[in-house]
Symmetry: D2
Subunit: 119 residues, 4 copies
Amino acid sequence: MTELDVAQLQRRLADFAASRAWEPYHTPKNLAAALSVEASELLEIFQWLTPEESARVMEDPDSGFRVTDEVADVLAYLLQFCEVLGIDVLAALAAKIDRNEARFPAPDSAKVTQRHSSG
Amino acid sequence: MTELDVAQLQRRLADFAASRAWEPYHTPKNLAAALSVEASELLEIFQWLTPEESARVMEDPDSGFRVTDEVADVLAYLLQFCEVLGIDVLAALAAKIDRNEARFPAPDSAKVTQRHSSG
Amino acid sequence: MTELDVAQLQRRLADFAASRAWEPYHTPKNLAAALSVEASELLEIFQWLTPEESARVMEDPDSGFRVTDEVADVLAYLLQFCEVLGIDVLAALAAKIDRNEARFPAPDSAKVTQRHSSG
Amino acid sequence: MTELDVAQLQRRLADFAASRAWEPYHTPKNLAAALSVEASELLEIFQWLTPEESARVMEDPDSGFRVTDEVADVLAYLLQFCEVLGIDVLAALAAKIDRNEARFPAPDSAKVTQRHSSG
């Protein structure tokens, strides 16, 4: 995979929407709602599972396919959202990791389990 | 940006979590919940906006920063989720677009606005 | 309807879960996830609608039924969540409205449209 | 508490919104988005907790208050959503329980743990 791929996927998604005349529906607000709905559909697969069961979800072909399919939907709406607002999502994440490394310095010893930050 | 970037971001996120001993928290179930929570934080920015206001959200530096920050959080949890389950998220999306192109053929004329599919 | 109804609905939901031996699944965490998933299923109905279309959603019997059904699911998980944690949801809301009336005093003139608080 | 309470809470919420001129914001679509955002804020409290920790969340006064506060927000937006669309939420839930009792008959013996239905 190359970066061409992220740009290429974004281009394929834009062409897909344009050829179906879906652009009027793709306001940032609607795409943010759709992204959140897809993320919930992913969560739905896990809602009644124990932590241990959740770790084995790819072992069953049906649930593995469903998980992969929902992950694709989440990324699809995230990329379309970023496309309509002109956001470079990879640069946004790189900058966020930089900020988090400054905000939450790694402990000297990583041996002690820390509470997870909420951010 | 190169594909190295997606792999690189995934590696930085994994190192970040490992050095803080957060791995026990990062079950697929917890990461799916966190992804859904971050997607809702993005939606929160838009919840009271008109469609027109939502299209101008990047014009204000504060809301533009907030949107970019939430987008980064969504991608961060999506990549971490895929990492723990061994899912190639770019391949998953490429396969999904292939399936959608077969399921929802583009109309001969794109001039007529179609209802958006729910998927 | 009487308050008996809220308590009665909560009792029916508890009996329903108990007779199917679902109680082990009904941790507060799982019920919070299920509540959030159902709220997203309600949102899904509206995600591509204009504000005007969203106001007419009950006029179509099918979408009206779907909305009513999702609203019931949201309340069902909210009441079950409150039941397992011993929270009186009506008292919680009454107390919250009291706090909001103190936090966001009504303007002398309500004629000017105010920005919506985010809370 | 009496049924007057649900109607009364709904009335107080409507007055609160009217006196702040928030009604134009309270489209069904916006209220569905806000409901989903609040449900996610409730989930956020639980996202890194084990099932066991989640069962003890009310023991800590701070997290107990936060949970109660988010529960109130969820009910507030659910009641406002139902108000603007003319839905009787208690009747909707009673009808849904009736349907579920028909769809998922209780087993003769409740001793065997069943898989949870996804609905």
